[in-house]
Symmetry: C2
Subunit: 162 residues, 2 copies
DNA sequence: TAGACAGGTCAAGATGATTGACCTATCGCA
DNA sequence: TGCGATAGGTCAATCATCTTGACCTGTCTA
């Protein structure tokens, strides 16, 4: 996440250059998705790096926060990662008392993942950056465009399922 | 990019589950961005994996294709990566005759990066998946929503600059 | 009671990013 | 003419992570 000393130009930090955001023709949506996505994950990534964590950790916190009590298998299917790939980050979050895993009393082989107060606070802060960015963007373009954004993203996500 | 044997459920390959795409409240845009982005990079990632390449390689090809003749420094600023992080992937693309680097006759310290015919073909195929996905999504939601999507993404990208 | 299910873990190898240091040319300008 | 900034290229150590693949425990349920 950090720039190298050799890469950073004298100027300041991360100027992100003067990348144009128009006239890409039919490739414009691709470029916009890339730059937009990068903009959204930028602040959380910086914050995570200060804790020595990565984007995966945020995603785990995010989805547990959205559906408290979900199981490990559900989580790894949602994230579309392997059990082994989830194992490390998830164990780490548990060691750092950000995530809690308790047995389901009704189905003892089920593990219910929840956030601890500390985990909730971190997730709130991380996703808060992103919600703030979206809120500002939505304000600046108006509700119709905001609806359009959601419609397109939903269509993209659904289409790839077919 | 591949699923592990231990992770894959008997069913088939990558069911991607039945992740709901609504009722996330104010977090819905975040979830949609995540799922949408993942959907868009999925096919290119699979294709890249067959060549032993990664997403970075596609991005390099993409931006060189959009602005043929751009220099190394411009490229790494556009991608917002360190010189060292760009070095490996870029050198590999050159070794595989997908990218060409020629000296600028007017400014000999400048390198002009261009795609070879093979590089152009690969970039076309990779980005083609994505353009196709967007085209279908735009068709299904209509031009107004498509405009909205672009407006929001542009706003997000611009806002993060401030 | 057998088999499927949820969960957890280990180990090896590959990959890639990161920091940090160094090197060559070349160009612009004082 | 010579110095500093620019553009580019590379090496090396470290660290984190993913991958494949194997193995293990309980717990349900038909």
């Amino acid at each position: 996440m950090k720039r190298s000393s050799g890469a950073r130009v004298p100027g300041t930090e991360a100027p992100s250059a003067e990348v144009q955001l128009s006239d890409w023709g039919e490739n414009e949506p691709l470029a916009l998705l890339y730059f937009g996505f990068r903009a959204v994950v930028k602040k959380p990534d910086q914050e995570l790096a200060r804790h020595g964590l990565g984007r995966v950790h945020h995603r785990i916190l995010f989805f547990i926060a959205r559906s408290p009590g979900l199981g490990t298998i559900e989580l790894l299917r949602t994230l579309d990662v392997s059990k082994q790939a989830l194992h490390g980050p998830l164990r780490r979050l548990q060691r750092e008392r950000l995530v809690q895993s308790v047995r389901d009393p009704d189905n003892a082989r089920q593990r219910r993942l929840t956030l601890t107060p500390r985990g909730r606070a971190l997730e709130r802060r991380l996703s808060g950056y992103q919600r703030g960015l979206f809120a500002a963007a939505f304000r600046s373009v108006g509700p119709a465009d905001a609806q359009g954004f959601c419609a397109v993203m939903r269509a993209l996500a659904l289409e790839a399922r077919s």
